[in-house]
Symmetry: C2
Subunit: 306 residues, 2 copies
């Protein structure tokens, strides 16, 4: 199995490419759940959903979130009832959250629920939450601590960030299958996801970082930073708040203890020497993925490296 | 205040008429919640919703349930996930159930939730659940006991009924305001709703029947049976299972201890003598309501009687 660590947006692009280049049954995806939150009384797992929708062929790849062709009738009425509407829940998407919430309340684990939803969507890859336990990415701001979704969606990353923490991580366990998959992997890819709020929570689950260090498989990471700027999202601000250098080097350094090979953009080739000095091999690749072709090409080239 | 006891369909028609004939602020509606049930993990109150949608001017009066112009995108996906789809939940309607479920889980009572939802829909009448406590109408069938919704919607009243019970009724209390409203009413109308599964559960809440007997206001009931057949729904089968005669007389007899005046269709005038012998006055009215005009006319005539 090829094991892939991912968040939502950037990771979904690469996973889309990978799923077209190898048999999806060979793919095991370990997904961030630090962004999970409760809204309208429903348990929402944005990254798991983005990946499941992508692998199920129903993702809205234009918008980068949600289900293609989804409508927003329920949301309009939730707002009418005084509910929050800053998180754009489509009607079809809502069915996912209603189903997940019901099954969790019935006693299923998040991994079991994820498997059930994935099956219904025709997902053939193994899609695992990083943990069945709640781990919440918290953003520290001058006005107090807020959830990741409040920072990212409601405030549109407009507030100053002084730090990031993963509440509940210490007490969490990796979801069943995660450590085994890492140990037995034929290769591991760390997606070009936000290192602080997408990959960071996964690494904060006790045992996962150790398994990445110890696996015999090659571990390959793709930089989410090109030319000193994130491909998308607020990775730069969050990295700065976390004391990281905002560059490919900063990302590579954060992963240096377990990554063997680091793929960066040609624009970042001047970082190669510094990264290699960390004991991490580097490779230049066109890592910006705009088209489906870009996604497949990058996937194919990464697979060739493993 | 004019106090109205009601279920969904038939009652909604008369309440629609009443709300156009008197100031809605003078209307206090005590609504059946024996049909409430949980589906997809959401608390659904079909009768409260039908009345709230009617008074809010958003009811689908053609279909007799749900919200006009509603769409069914979420339901299609709930079904894809293996969820039950026999209860047709529209996307906008779903927002009501999501909101109710969230607020109940946050600790609000059903009455408080109903008030909040009503306000959002612009409902000016006082709309009260019969009780804040769970009272479940159970239908006894040869294959065992089923919920009212399963009998009514899922099985489309196709199974044999041997009895009806109101689980939880003994321990339930009338919702705050119900008994006061009945005591201080300037008149009470019992809607042409199913006497077994719409009005029956209301009367099963300890204290309500006594308050109806004791109120100084005139209590007027409208027959849901015309010519030995229910205007809509399975009232006949449920009345038979409950040991009632399937006729205007059967309904009047069930209400005889608290009803002063019983309105029946001209087709049923031959029952008048038997009903009057119960000590209940009768009046002939066009009680079938097909058009908005019918609803307003009946409402106006009933108001004139009080």
């Amino acid at each position: 199995m090829l094991v892939v660590l991912t968040g939502g947006t950037g990771g979904a692009k690469l996973i889309h490419g990978l799923s077209l280049e190898i048999s999806p049954e060979e793919l095991c995806i370990v997904c961030n759940t630090g962004d999970d939150f409760v809204l309208h009384g429903l348990h929402i797992s944005p990254d798991l959903d983005t990946i499941a929708y992508t692998l199920g062929g129903v993702a809205d790849t234009e918008k980068g979130w949600g289900i293609q062709g989804d409508t927003f009738a329920a949301l309009e009425w939730l707002e009418k009832y005084g509910g929050e509407s800053w998180f754009k829940l489509g009607d079809r998407d809502l069915a996912t959250h209603i189903t997940r919430s019901r099954l969790l309340r019935e006693g299923l684990t998040l991994a079991q629920v994820t498997e059930r939803i994935g099956k219904s969507l025709g997902v053939k890859a193994a899609l695992l939450p990083m943990s069945n336990d709640p781990v919440e990415t918290k953003i520290q701001t001058p006005a107090g601590e807020i959830s990741f979704q409040e920072y990212f969606v409601k405030r549109r990353w407009s507030v100053e960030v002084s730090g990031v923490s993963y509440a509940g991580a210490q007490a969490s366990l990796p979801a069943p299958g995660v450590l085994d998959a890492l140990r037995d992997a034929r290769g591991v890819i760390v997606c070009p996801s936000n290192p602080v709020t997408s990959i960071g929570p996964i690494l904060a689950v006790p045992g996962i970082r150790e398994a990445l260090r110890e696996t015999k498989a090659a571990v390959l990471a793709v930089s989410p930073i090109i030319g000193g700027r994130p491909v998308s999202g607020p990775a730069d601000r969050l990295m700065a708040a976390d004391g990281m250098e905002i560059s490919s080097f900063g990302v590579a350094k954060a992963y240096a203890d377990f990554v063997d090979l680091f793929a960066l953009a040609p624009e970042d080739k001047n970082w190669r020497t510094r990264i290699e000095a960390l004991g991490v091999k580097t490779v230049e690749k066109t890592i910006r993925m705009n088209s489906l072709n870009d996604k497949r090409n990058l996937a194919r080239e990464l697979l060739a490296l493993l």
